[in-house]
């Protein structure tokens, strides 16, 4: 609210401004002025509201177009289903919420006041059935005695199970706002970063002034404006700046801003949150103003703006006065009435009355008179109405009453009469179709309070102003309680210069533009006692009497008041209602407003769609996808893939005619165990550990020794967490005196790297060792089965000795492949078969897979997937992720003997704790169903035979299962109390989740080739 209230020239302007509304031919716009406004009459637009065809102009919002079309009833309230009209002209609108668009793009709870009109726009009113005019649920009004504050808590308490089954579904059906489409959002959303010296929030007189000053001073400036058009209240309030009309000044200022290469003006961009370190969240509505975004363009963009300084010039929001019937269609904020007239050339009504407690409200009268609207009366509650205002009334010929509105009458299509209780005691009835109300202005303190700074109360303007702001932020202009145009321009200028200087930009910025300093002259009036419902929170139907009831029932604290009555919890987040609600609570509880306090402000300041927060991170792009070097080749072969973390791994390779996955997996296992197969294991984490102290370093992080490992040898290693629990395992090889090649499990590759870096940098910087992740640099394949050597001999140079003597078990060395590529060969086995792992630079991975198939054709080679890999490791009793589950010790896994007694290592001390060496612990065992035809399921609990299943009799659980083609039955691994002493014992596998209970035998976890001869052969 800025602009001049210069009354000296008022008379002349009123005389000159008389323009009667005329509906252009073919237009439905009965309430549109034929001149004026920031709309393009050459660009008519068709739209529908509740299926009815209407027209508007480019530059309209849906709300202004509805006003121009004479639409007054736009929605039904949440609880009582009362008829509601448009209340505001901004993003704080509580009433005019619509479902915008149709099909998959249908968006509920869209504010008509911020939705820009476009050709073909479709909007539906909400919260009514069967139609807006005849709404069945408005019967709730008759039941209003039970729908008081806290009615959910009081009414739907008993019997308890009725809540879920009956009450909640019924309430949800009755109370819901708009409907979401239920379909996937077809549009794209983007996320972006921006950096600047000075972020200016809001482009009213303060914001433009601040951006100009900071921009002239040389700062990199972003000016963010949520509206489609920069200017703020300058677009609606008239007035003069620097001897010209405020609109002309604005045009010049915006032209200068766009000429400055260091200034970026972002319209349709709402700053919604203040985060740490000068980071601001902003939502740019890139293509909300068109029916569908153009191809390759996004609908909305989420900005994270990093600013050294921020000037909040977010203005203020006019607040309603609480009186009987203040929610009737036709009662509108005074500033909104002005906006519709001045900016949109649309008349909210033909006979306008004003109810105000301050001088600013009178500017609506000026605007209405200029537009040729009849003023039926002004009701001013202040004891001393300024003389110049009374003089204006006299000149223009309307009545002024000192008093209050205590009731309004009229149906769903709007008000018709207003009852005024005069201060002198008599009552007057006034005919009017529109009542503009102004209860004063609330500075927008939201952003300034996002770091929990509490707003402070100012008696002179009867409003809260920002208290302690987040670091780097200043608030200026109306948002800081400076309501006059002149003060806004000066404050913005000063804030802009200071912010620029604090970010090191100090060029000359000139002086601020001059304008008048009119006074608000408010005498607070919050609530007028009356016979009927008087609304504080329009959208949630919170009335003055609800607040009084909350106080009587002990919910006096503002946080309790909010939750008990739902005051301020609607989509406007209390921007229209909170301060008024507090004031009424202060009144009924006999405290001052500052004593009553405020609730905490949190982001987002305006609603942000989940789609915008997600950006491109949805569906297959929810996270990044990592592909193995042989992925393309595996896909060509028709492999089924499984997600393991970010990786896609081949799970099995079905052959034509195989009826299910089990057939394929059994075949793969049998082929490997009887012939040869290979599997891409590149997903294992790989880390080069280099330096003179590499061995000493590994000795500290592994429980077993690595400094004693010979060059050209590999060793299985186990790492503990500091608390003694197993962290990870893997095979680590010594490639040179000062070079180890460490592998991790696929899942722990990142965490282990991070942990090792912690050890190296934070714990033991004295060790001369370096770590490099090389997971992505090497393609690694496991080649397994009795014919492995035959296959390898086909691809390595003939001079390479692969015999058991020349390349023994656990040996490692470089070999030359035919064609010249140098590969690393590791004689290690996870499958229990004679096996090697071969690694080549990742770019050769695809070729290696293809060549293994060609070279191995004569041996019947097959690729195998992660399922067959898993089957073979369970058959061998090798532990993996399900056993390394964050609860198991080395002893539990049967690996306790690996722990070195000659050197210290991480986890040694706490692994020796009583509880971790308890002989009753659950340890890894093998499990197999007594009924060989039975399928074993992981997750089943082991219970002694004859015991009743309970936490007391629970002795463990099944961790990993598979169908073993070698044993011809399902087998598994499990963790069972004292399991190693109980081989041969029959226990029950109890599986309440699947309703199963069957006998299983505890056995040695090494089901296949327990002597290990095959892998050493």
């Amino acid at each position: 609210m800025t602009g001049s209230l210069s009354l000296t020239s008022a008379e002349a302007r009123f005389a000159a401004g008389a323009k009667a509304p005329v509906a252009p031919s073919g237009s439905t716009q009965s309430n549109r002025l034929d001149t004026g406004g920031l709309i393009d009459r050459a660009a008519p637009l068709n739209f529908t509201f509740d299926g009815k065809a209407m027209t508007g102009f480019a530059g309209d919002t849906l709300a202004s177009a509805l006003v121009a079309n004479g639409v007054r009833l736009v929605g039904r309230s949440f609880k009582y289903h009362r008829p509601r009209g448009i209340l505001t002209a901004g993003s704080e609108e509580p009433n005019a919420l619509v479902e915008l668009r149709s099909g998959a793009r249908r968006e509920p709870n869209t504010k008509a006041t911020t939705a820009e009109l476009y050709q073909g726009l479709e909007a539906l009113s909400q919260n009514r059935w069967p139609s807006l005019r005849y709404d069945v649920m408005s019967v709730n009004q008759l039941l209003s005695p039970i729908f008081v504050a806290g009615f959910y808590y009081k009414t739907f308490m008993w019997p308890a199970k009725f809540w879920e089954m009956i009450y909640e579904p019924a309430i949800r059906r009755a109370a819901g706002l708009g409907r979401s489409s239920g379909l996937a959002d077809p549009d794209h959303y983007d996320k972006a970063w921006a950096h600047c010296d000075v972020l200016v929030v809001g482009s009213g007189p303060t914001g433009v002034s601040a951006a100009l000053a900071a921009g002239r001073a040389g700062a990199r400036v972003i000016l963010a404006e949520e509206d489609s058009r920069a200017g703020g209240r300058l677009l609606s309030d008239g007035g003069e700046i620097g001897g010209m009309s405020s609109r002309e000044w604005l045009a010049n200022a915006l032209a200068e801003l766009s000429s400055l290469s260091n200034v970026r003006v972002m319209t349709r961009t709402a700053v919604f949150g203040v985060y740490d370190g000068g980071t601001y969240g902003a939502l740019e509505r890139v293509n909300d103003h068109v029916a569908t975004p153009p191809e390759h363009e996004v609908r909305q963009r989420l900005w994270r703006i990093v600013a050294k300084r921020c000037v909040v010039a977010a203005g203020a929001i006019e607040r309603p006065i609480v009186f009987s019937g203040n929610d009737r269609p036709g009662v509108m904020m005074a500033s909104a009435v002005r906006t519709y007239i001045e900016r949109f050339a649309a008349l909210p009504g033909k006979r306008v009355a004003l109810f105000t407690n301050n001088s600013d409200g009178w500017r609506t009268v000026e605007a209405a008179l200029r537009a040729g609207v009849e003023i039926s009366a002004v009701i001013d509650s202040r004891p001393g109405i300024p003389e110049e205002l009374r003089a204006m009334a006299e000149v223009s010929g309307f009545r002024v009453f000192n008093g209050v509105v205590h009731d309004v009458r009229g149906g769903a299509s709007g008000i018709s009469r207003i009852s005024v209780a005069q201060a002198k005691g008599t009552t007057v009835e006034i005919a009017a179709d529109t009542l503009a109300m102004s209860g004063g202005w609330n500075p927008s303190v939201g952003l300034a309070s996002h770091h929990r700074g509490r707003p402070t109360w100012r008696d002179d303007i009867a409003a809260f102003v920002p208290g302690e702001c987040p670091p780097g932020m200043v608030v200026a202009g109306a948002a800081n309680g400076d309501f006059s145009l002149g003060a806004c321009l000066r404050a913005g200028h000063a804030a802009g210069i200071a912010a620029a200087a604090e970010s090191g930009r100090t060029q000359k910025a000139g002086s601020p533009a001059a304008a008048s300093d009119e006074a608000l002259s408010i005498t607070p009036l919050w609530h007028v006692e009356g016979k009927h419902k008087a609304f504080v929170d329009f959208q949630h139907d919170v009335t003055a009497s609800d607040i009084a009831l909350a106080q009587r029932e002990g919910f006096e604290s503002v946080e309790h008041l909010k939750r008990y009555t739902t005051l301020g919890m609607a989509t406007d987040q209390g921007r229209n209602s909170n301060v008024t609600g507090l004031a009424i609570m202060a009144e009924v509880s006999g405290r001052t407003i500052p004593q009553t306090g405020t609730t905490i402000y949190r982001p987002p300041q305006v609603p942000v769609a989940i789609g915008a927060l997600a950006g491109h991170h949805r569906d297959e792009n929810f996270h990044s996808t990592r592909l193995t070097p042989s992925h393309r080749w595996a896909a060509e072969r028709g492999a089924t893939f499984v997600d393991t973390g970010l990786w896609k791994r081949a799970q099995w390779y079905p052959l034509p005619g195989e009826k299910d996955w089990l057939t394929s997996v059994d075949r793969e296992v049998l082929t490997v165990r009887n012939g040869v197969g290979f599997c891409d294991v590149s997903t294992l984490g790989k880390i080069d550990v280099m330096g003179p102290d590499a061995g000493a370093f590994l000795d500290r992080v592994y429980i077993n020794a690595f400094s004693s490992l010979g060059v050209g040898k590999a060793r299985y290693g186990l790492m503990l967490r500091e608390d003694g629990i197993v962290m990870d395992d893997g095979t680590t090889s010594r490639l040179a005196e000062d070079h180890y090649f460490l592998t991790t499990t696929t899942a722990k590759a990142g965490p282990v790297m991070q942990y090792l870096e912690y050890c190296r940098q934070v714990l033991w910087p004295e060790l001369d060792v370096q770590l490099t992740s090389c997971t992505d640099q090497w393609a690694q394949f496991s080649i397994a089965g009795p014919k492995t050597r035959d296959l390898l001999r086909e691809i390595v140079e003939p001079s390479e000795d692969l015999s058991n003597e020349g390349f023994p078990f656990m040996a490692v060395r470089e070999v030359k492949l035919r064609g010249g590529v140098v590969a690393r060969l590791f004689r290690i086995s996870f499958s229990g078969e004679m096996a090697f792992e071969i690694s080549v630079p990742a770019r050769f991975g695809d070729a290696l897979a293809r060549n293994l198939m060609i070279a191995g054709k004569q041996f019947g080679v097959i690729p195998y997937g992660t399922e067959a890999l898993g089957v073979m490791r369970i058959e061998k009793g090798h532990v993996a992720g399900p056993e390394l589950n964050g609860t198991t010790t080395a002893g539990d896994l049967g690996l306790g003997k690996m722990a070195s007694k000659k050197k210290d290592f991480v986890g040694r001390v706490l692994a020796a704790r009583e509880g971790l060496v308890d002989p009753n612990r659950q340890v890894v065992v093998g499990l197999k169903p007594v009924d060989k035809a039975r399928r074993l399921r992981s997750g089943a609990h082991t219970i002694p035979k004859g015991a009743r299943p309970s936490p007391e009799t629970d002795q463990g659980y099944v961790t990993s299962v598979c169908h073993s083609p070698m044993l011809g039955q399902w087998i598994g691994l499990g963790l069972v109390e004292r399991g190693r002493e109980r081989y041969g014992e029959i226990v029950r596998a109890h599986d309440p989740l699947r309703g199963e209970d069957y006998d299983v035998e505890i056995c040695n976890p090494v089901f296949y080739d327990p002597e290990g001869g095959r892998q050493r052969g």
Partner: protein, 107 residues
Amino acid sequence: MRIACPFCGERENGEFTYLGDAKPQRPAMVALEVAGGAAGEAEAFYDYVYLRDNVAGEMDEYWYHGGGCRSWLRLTRNTATHEITSVEAAPGTGASSSPASTAGTIS
């Protein structure tokens, strides 16, 4: 939140991983010939692993710049305001030079 990495410059916190309190120091590695470890080491490790102050205010913390230079950093951050007053590379601050019997406890 933004962290000024001494190697990479100011970066947003999504590039970093939080570890926690930087005050506890790991007791030094010991030679196991000393009868299986140092006296009192179980208590010292218990303190090191589990005991933490619940600081409302300035706290020294470890952060890992995994999305950048892979450095472990030691920050002084106010847990109530998120204000960061110092960032430095962390080498050598996490382990005591003394064995468990004399180090690792939190004052």
